[in-house]
């Protein structure tokens, strides 16, 4: 009887572990670009710390751009955005899925983002790569991985 309980406990622990590897809060999935991205993409960004530094640069450039800064000022807490974007970018660059934010479509549904505003963020992304000395080719791996979210984000 004891061994049965122990087995049950082990089973439950295993189930918990399984849950942890595919967390219920993961509201967004990795994208699947047709030709994939380079396997060293995350490394080329400087790993987790590199991605975090890149996201900080990204928001630096976003907040300097009058076309898009007001949206982020009004709807997004930049510190929280930086935290969630770091998780999102680590995920799409081939790292683990630790993203705790809402899905891309849910997060942008009510914002009425235009193509111009979306492209402005892409420009900020390239500027951030240059600022953080991430090669253009590596930067394109991230653009490649994020591009499939375009339709979810641009709703107008």
């Amino acid at each position: 009887m004891k061994s049965f309980t122990r087995n049950l406990m082990a089973g439950a622990a295993l189930a918990m572990a399984a849950l942890a590897s595919a967390p219920s809060f993961a509201a967004e999935q990795k994208t699947s670009p047709i030709l994939g991205i380079t396997s060293s993409a995350l490394e080329e960004f400087g790993g987790r710390d590199g991605v975090r530094a890149w996201v900080e640069s990204l928001f630096y450039y976003i907040m300097l751009d009058n076309r898009i800064a007001p949206i982020f000022r009004e709807f997004g807490n930049v510190e929280r955005q930086t935290f969630l974007n770091t998780q999102l970018e680590i995920m799409v660059l081939g790292g683990p899925n630790e993203y705790q934010g809402a899905s891309m479509s849910a997060a942008h549904a009510d914002l009425g983002i235009t193509m111009s505003q979306f492209n402005a963020v892409v420009e900020a992304a390239y500027n951030a790569c240059e600022r953080n000395v991430i090669p253009y080719h590596s930067c394109n791996q991230l653009i490649n991985a994020l591009a499939p979210f375009t339709a979810d984000i641009v709703t107008r």
Binding site: T31, P33, L35, G36, T38, T114, S116, Q117, Y136, N144
Partner: protein, 359 residues
């Protein structure tokens, strides 16, 4: 006094204010748009539309997104061993969906054999108008273009093989009708239609484009359309499908290098320049032209060699290019062209320089 101002003056003021606000940047900002990412509208093609150097792409010209209008003007200069070309044109993109373009093309020849024919014709005072000038003959063409994006997004649908797809048409009017006829072309004005498929592969920072064009053009229409036998007889102007391919590798977000291939027909292969009987030989193998040349320039140009040198040929076009957009208001494209045989001149390889200013 107040009453004498009248409603007329107020109306004029109102109209003036309305006109002013039409051109003021504030009002214009509603439609004007430059939100597209660098170079994704393509540069300035020799036909006027957006694309590579010679190949029209499925991308819509200008930096507008689906919310606005953008466009520009462009100038292209091409220097070949026997030809100089100047292209001046403009193109406008509407809502990243539709594009209108215009191109004015002038080709100046530097061909001693054709100049000699012109000289003989003028000296012999023949009343046939060959459209030639002893001091160098010119060809002139105007191209009107329209393009419609059907579906697909070349840039952002990275999770699908579906390319951006567009169809387009050009109407080309060659105003040097006599010269084109002398080059044994059947028509001096005609239309072309094409379908273009464009895709950016970010994985490799590369843009790939395939275009299929339905046309009967000789040298993109600069030397007319279709062909005739001597004396403008047995004319044929059958259109066919021709392939065009572009690939561009992005070294930076605003700097690309690449190459193009454009399949050409060879309607005028082995066709001599149609000089209205000047080359017809009599029993002794002498023609009006060879006699004339013999009298004029003697041994300087072998008269028989001259007649043989007036045989035409056409080759596929190839080029390698570098395009640089320092900002969204202008781009510079430098290319080296491998155009092969053009009309009576061989091995026409040379430099291409294009400037495109966008608003």
């Amino acid at each position: 006094m107040k009453g004498s101002k009248g409603s007329g003056a107020r109306w004029i003021k109102g109209a003036a204010f309305a006109a002013l606000s039409m051109v003021s940047s504030h009002s214009w900002a509603g439609v004007y748009d430059a939100g597209k990412v660098f170079l994704t509208g393509g540069v300035f093609t020799v036909d006027g539309g957006g694309g590579g150097g010679a190949v029209p792409w499925a991308t819509i010209t200008g930096y507008e997104t689906r919310d606005g209008i953008n466009g520009g003007v462009g100038f292209t200069y091409v220097s070949l061993p026997n030809y100089t070309l100047n292209f001046l044109g403009a193109s406008v993109g509407f809502f990243d969906r539709f594009e209108l373009s215009y191109m004015n093309t002038k080709l100046s020849t530097n061909l001693s054999n054709v100049d000699t024919v012109a000289l003989v014709t003028s000296v012999l005072n023949l009343d046939t108008n060959l459209g030639l000038d002893p001091n160098g003959s010119n060809l002139h063409m105007e191209t009107y273009g329209a393009k419609l994006r059907l579906f697909g997004d070349a840039v952002y649908t990275s999770d699908s093989f579906l390319p951006q797809t567009a169809i387009g048409a050009y109407y080309k009017v060659n105003s040097t009708k006599e010269f084109v006829r002398t080059l044994s072309a059947a028509k001096n004005k005609d239309y072309e239609i094409y379908a273009a498929f464009t895709k950016v592969f970010f994985r490799y920072s590369t843009l790939v484009n395939l275009t299929v064009r339905y046309t009967s053009a000789n040298q993109i229409g600069l030397t007319g359309f279709g062909t005739c036998d001597g004396g403008h007889l047995n004319c044929e102007n059958d259109k066919e499908f021709r392939m065009e391919f572009s690939a561009a590798y992005l070294l930076q977000k605003n700097f690309a290098i690449g190459g193009e291939w454009q399949q050409h027909g060879n309607n005028q292969k082995h066709k001599s320049v149609d000089v209205a009987g000047l080359l017809d030989t009599d029993a002794s193998g002498q023609s009006l032209l060879t006699n004339g040349v013999g009298a004029l320039v003697g041994g300087v140009v072998g008269a028989t060699t001259l007649a043989a040198s007036l045989t035409q040929n056409e080759s596929d076009w190839y080029d390698v290019f570098a395009a640089y957009a320092p900002n969204k208001n202008y781009s510079i494209t430098i290319a080296y062209l491998f155009l092969g045989d053009i009309a009576v001149a061989h091995e026409q390889n040379g430099l291409y320089l294009a400037l495109h200013a966008t608003f």
